[in-house]
Symmetry: C2
Subunit: 121 residues, 2 copies
DNA sequence: CATCGTTATATATTGAAAAACATAGCGCTA
DNA sequence: TAGCGCTATGTTTTTCAATATATAACGATG
């Protein structure tokens, strides 16, 4: 017995949408923001440039990474200071696995949302 | 081929969590907040008391309701001013259907999250 | 017709999160 | 040993949403 929810709403397009993240002890540490940041660090080799590319302050990026690293057995972002380029950062194999996992998770969520949205079409 | 994501993370409990809402044109108008508000209005017969019970300001409650009503073919909350009790509010049959729909949606989402969380146990 | 509790609405205040800014340290290079 | 660009960290400023506050209108009632 399906409820015709759609009939209660005005003409127009409606969707079920949402957001998803990983948390520990109620504290979220892994979602779309950190994922994109990891990807950009991989691209640019620098937290500073990755943050800039996302329009995020360096401090926020650093805090995100620091927090993320604190949840892993091994760090997801490895940094170095000094040197010819002044230092830089790269992501670990573990980070790549997290990104891959998140991609799959997000895809499953997308399907869930699409399925739910189809109920209101 | 399952990724053993769990092994990348420290000892402790981890969960996939998220939130869900209905939106139209990118604007969200129906989620956990409005649902609870509707339920409390049904209980108390008053927006003011419902908001208070949720620790929400009257203005926010009113804005939420006003916005919600604007999405419906018929209003979800019907209000009256003046009279012996000074006025009051009640929810429509349509609102009850929205609540029922949301309950089911939330349950399906809960199962999705539980299933996803089980991957990290 | 004054009182009551509520809806309806506008404006002021507050508080928390983000951004912006500042500064020190690092290690290679010239 | 000075300079470069980045990491690391603390402090100040800004922004923006939520709350608080204020006021009018409403309609039954005594």
């Amino acid at each position: 017995m399906e409820e015709p929810i759609r009939n209660l709403l005005k003409e127009g397009t409606f969707d079920v949408n949402g957001s998803l993240w990983l948390e520990s002890g109620g504290k979220r540490f892994f979602g779309p923001g950190p994922v994109e940041l990891l990807e950009r660090i991989a691209e640019t080799g620098s937290i500073k440039q990755a943050a800039k590319a996302m329009g995020m302050s360096y401090k926020k990026a650093w805090d995100l990474i620091n927090n993320l690293n604190s949840m892993g057995v091994r760090p997801f972002v490895v940094t170095s200071t000094g040197g010819e380029k002044g230092g830089g950062s790269s992501i670990s194999e573990e980070a790549r696995q997290m990104i891959a996992y998140h991609r799959q998770l997000r895809e499953r969520f997308r399907q869930f949302l699409e399925q739910e949205s189809s109920h209101l079409k």
